[in-house]
């Protein structure tokens, strides 16, 4: 049993597992939590819902002892506690599974788990207890495998087992499904429900409403660092939850039917060996993007998306001759600047450090991909007309509703959503022929996401060819005309969105399209 409190006795009904009262934490530029109170009962699966920047992560770090609150009280099992560091949190029975895994790639699962434990157990004992835990909860994992051979879902299982080995009374999960296929999410939920039935309390952080409604029986909603609602998600609708979360319902997008135009980019049999040891080989990718359509690529991250995008953008120009063509021109060995001249504009997944230079101003960040404010290109690459550059940046800030101090603000001073709006704006403003965007709304709040998706659709309606690579299926279904799935470096055939279902795409995400291609094509012919 993971907890010491026997379930169902009157005390466990009355006494909260965790009670936060009046938690406040201010950072120099922002108040992350303001007078937040939260009560988690034993055996309860409690959702913490909020947009990015609502203060969820800070609150969890306070519970886990890695951040000290400025004010407020924490009580665990009725006892006031002062958790100074994660070690004390674990000693109390609090475990956390982070969104980003803390695993060493080069050593085995058992060694990774062993490193995180106190040194009282030998490696063999740890291996045995991993196997035992894995069997108990149906978490299929081989302790002897090196971590770099694991899929992302398997790595998460390792993290969960590591958390369970301490027999926690409270398990915190930070956005656990963002890296999983729909099928893997189902499996995870089975494990979590079993844990909860044994009396372990779960704090489940997410912004995915349907998951919360399926899994959780209590919910605390945060907005701008304040609690805006406490409810039972099973009694609420998506609309009422999102009202609590963002104060309004997200705007609906209009997806007009439109016939695709001529082919803009053709990728044929693209094969590319991985650049680094832990990368993915691309194996025979076939892809076509036409004017006036949005093609989506679904898939769990780490299945070759990064490598494919490097090859398409020109950041990696090792692609075999003739494998990537833009309007008939072979661009496979062309560097990013050359492809940009042909009308390919790309928004990468990493905004700070790749899409923008963190320390430079927004105006100077224009220069990464835009040459509109440059004259005399023969003289040292061109003369920068600073005033024009700033005016151009200011226009983009205004058009795309970017919240920033002005063209002179450093890129890193912007929030993720606003920087993404700026980068997307910078590339769309160039009137691209082919627009490629990776994880367009990753870490972006709901309002900005809707705006970015709207901009993608507007671009498509204007006749641009658009390729969207995303892990969010909802998003892909919303904006795409056709969908591909990438798994282990291979790309599935495309399927029109109208003929695709979440289950089908989910199955394809495990690489299982070869067996199903025929019936599906038939189904799509009917549709």
């Amino acid at each position: 049993m993971p907890n010491s409190n026997p379930q169902g006795t009157p005390t466990s009904q009355l006494q909260a597992r965790l009670a936060l009262t009046g938690i406040t934490k201010a950072y120099p530029s922002v108040v992350a939590n303001s007078d937040v109170s939260l009560t988690v009962l034993p055996g309860q699966t409690h959702a913490v819902l909020g947009e990015n920047g609502a203060g969820k992560s800070t609150l969890m770090k306070i519970i886990y002892g890695s951040v000290k609150p400025d004010a407020g009280r924490v009580a665990f099992n009725g006892q006031p506690v002062h958790i100074r560091n994660p070690k004390e949190a674990r000693a109390l029975g609090i475990s956390m599974v982070f969104q980003h895994f803390n695993l060493f790639d080069t050593i085995t699962v058992a060694e990774n788990v062993w490193l995180g434990l106190d040194k009282s157990m030998s490696l063999t004992q740890v291996t045995q207890s991993i196997t035992a835990k894995a069997a108990e909860y149906g978490l299929d994992i081989d302790p002897a495998r090196p971590v770099h051979t694991l899929s992302v879902g398997e790595m998460q299982r390792v993290e969960i087992i590591r958390a369970l080995l301490t027999n926690p009374q409270l398990l915190i999960l930070d956005e656990p499904t963002s890296v999983l296929t729909p099928q893997a999410v189902e499996k995870l939920f089975v494990v979590l429900k079993k844990l909860a039935s044994e009396g372990c309390s779960i704090l489940y952080i997410s912004h995915k409403l349907h998951e919360i409604r399926e899994l959780c029986n209590a919910c605390t909603v945060l907005r701008g660092g304040k609690v805006t609602g406490v409810c039972n998600p099973k009694d609420e609708s998506n609309a009422s939850l999102s009202r609590l979360m963002i104060g309004a319902e997200p705007p609906q997008l209009e997806h007009r039917a439109q016939a695709a135009g001529k082919s803009v980019m053709t990728v044929s049999d693209l094969r590319l060996e991985r650049e680094d040891q832990f990368g993915v080989d691309l194996e025979g990718i076939d892809l076509e993007v036409c004017a006036g359509e949005v093609v989506g690529i679904a898939g769990v991250s780490g299945n070759g998306q990064k490598e494919l995008l490097y090859a398409l953008s020109g950041e990696d120009c090792r692609a075999p001759k003739g494998s990537i063509r833009m309007e008939g021109v072979d661009v496979s060995a062309m560097h990013p600047g050359g492809r940009r001249k042909l009308g390919l504009h790309f928004v990468p997944e990493e905004r700070l450090g790749r899409g923008a230079v963190p320390t430079l101003s927004l105006a100077h960040n224009m220069l990464l991909t835009r040459t509109g404010s440059i004259s005399h290109p023969r003289f040292a690459g061109g003369w920068i007309r600073v005033r024009e550059l700033e005016a151009h940046a200011a226009r983009i800030i205004k058009t795309f509703n970017v919240k920033a101090g002005g063209p002179g603000s450093a890129a890193r001073s912007l929030s993720g959503g606003n920087l993404q709006k700026f980068i997307v704006g910078r590339e769309i403003d160039a009137s691209p022929k082919l627009f490629i965007v990776s994880q367009p709304t990753w870490g972006v709040d709901v309002g900005a996401s809707a705006q970015i998706r709207g901009a993608i659709l507007a671009l498509r309606d204007a006749g641009c060819a658009v390729l969207v690579v995303s892990e969010e299926l909802d998003e892909l279904f919303e904006v795409s005309d056709r969908l591909h799935v990438i798994a282990r470096g291979k790309l599935s055939p495309s399927v029109p969105v109208a003929a695709a279902s979440v289950e089908k795409i989910g199955a394809w995400m495990s690489g299982l399209w070869d067996t199903e291609t025929k019936p599906l094509e038939a189904g799509h012919a009917q549709a």
Binding site: D70, V81, P336, F346, L360, A380, G381, I384, V386, S413
Partner: protein, 361 residues
């Protein structure tokens, strides 16, 4: 309780204020140092910070020493802004001096004053060649440019030794390891009669203006720096990292070589084993104290030159070792590194939150 708190944005004011505060710290520690050595601190400070500015002649000397420092630092700033860690400017400076000496030794009675042009060109090429070696090894074999450029300094010192002990030794020099004094015709033209200021000063000032334009007004200069600030962004934009590497090394090598040529054909007037004076290393401090900004480096070069002269004066007038120069240079650099904390953090008084204190058992 005094606490450092991260700033949301680096402070612009402190990025300029920090070098000034660092200078103040250096002066304060200097006072303590003089007192500990049993010398009058006021007299010590006077020698370091007033004597070098006292007369026209003294100011001229200050500029003479600042010129090579500034030239080398300008080139290093290009390197450091683009994440290329060239710390072997001393070697490039020496190779420039050696190459220029080769031209100077060819001069005879019939040579025209224009020989100075190929002489300076040779200096630039010598420095570029030496820096190019480090760039080539990095480009081809991905060697560490810090190690390679530093090690090449010692190779350059050996080359210098070989030349002055061997083929280029002055036959009438009583076996001293040095070349003959160069013909007067090879001497770098001076700006004024009676002053040791040469046209080198003009090169340095031109370099300041040129670097400012390159860094802040040209796309090539922008591309150069993006590689240093965010390599992934440079790759995304399509700026070549190889080009940035070669540009950085060739500019800094060329400028260091030019400084070497100006030195041997100017104030020194012959090639001796005493040409390496540590300018190449001191210029690293100049570059950082000047915030890698062309105008900032103009001031920091003058400051460092002041320390050189101050150290010599302290030796002759106070009987202190000449290594005091190095001590002051080091003090300034370390004070700057410490003061730079204030660019990204602010100091704050913080009382322990009372409620938390009660929260603990």
């Amino acid at each position: 309780m005094l606490k450092l708190e991260a700033r949301p944005q680096p402070s612009r004011r402190w990025s300029y204020g920090s070098p000034l505060l660092a200078l103040l710290c250096t002066v304060v520690i200097g006072v303590v140092l003089f007192a500990a050595l049993g010398k009058d601190p006021v007299r010590g400070l006077q020698i370091f910070f007033w004597e070098p500015l006292r007369s026209g002649y003294a100011l001229g000397e200050l500029v003479v020493k600042a010129t090579p420092l500034l030239l080398i630092a300008l080139g290093l700033a290009v390197c450091y802004r683009s994440n290329v860690w060239n710390i072997g400017a001393e070697g490039q400076y020496l190779m420039g001096a050696i190459a220029a000496s080769g031209i100077a030794l060819m001069a005879d009675k019939d040579s025209s004053g224009w020989i100075v042009v190929p002489l300076l060109m040779a200096g630039v090429l010598g420095g570029m060649f030496w820096a190019g070696l480090a760039a080539f090894l990095k480009d081809k074999f991905n060697t560490n440019e810090i190690l390679v450029s530093l090690m090449l300094v010692y190779v350059a010192v050996q080359v210098l030794g070989y030349m002055v002990y061997g083929p280029w030794k002055d036959p009438n020099g009583y076996n001293f390891p040095q070349t003959k004094t160069f013909d007067l015709v090879t001497r770098i033209p001076r700006l004024f009669e009676g002053s040791r200021l040469s046209i080198g000063v003009l090169f340095a000032l031109l370099g300041v203006a040129g670097l400012w334009v390159f860094l802040f007004r040209t796309r090539a200069g922008f591309a150069q720096q993006v590689g240093g600030l965010a390599p992934a962004a440079a790759r995304y934009a399509g700026f070549s990292s190889r080009r940035a590497l070669w540009t950085a090394f060739l500019i800094s090598g060329g400028l260091a070589g030019l400084a070497g040529a100006l030195e041997v054909a100017g104030p020194i007037g012959q090639l001796t084993p005493y040409v390496p004076a540590g300018y190449g290393f001191a210029a690293i401090i100049v570059a950082y104290v000047g915030r890698l900004h062309p105008v900032g480096m103009l001031f920091s070069a003058l400051l460092m030159s002041m320390f050189y002269i101050g150290g010599e004066l302290a030796q002759s007038r106070l009987g202190l070792p000449k290594s005091l120069t190095g001590v002051f240079q080091g003090l300034l650099l370390f004070s700057l590194l410490a003061c730079d904390t204030l660019v990204n953090y602010r100091l704050q008084w913080k009382s322990v939150a009372p409620e938390i204190a009660r929260g603990g058992q």
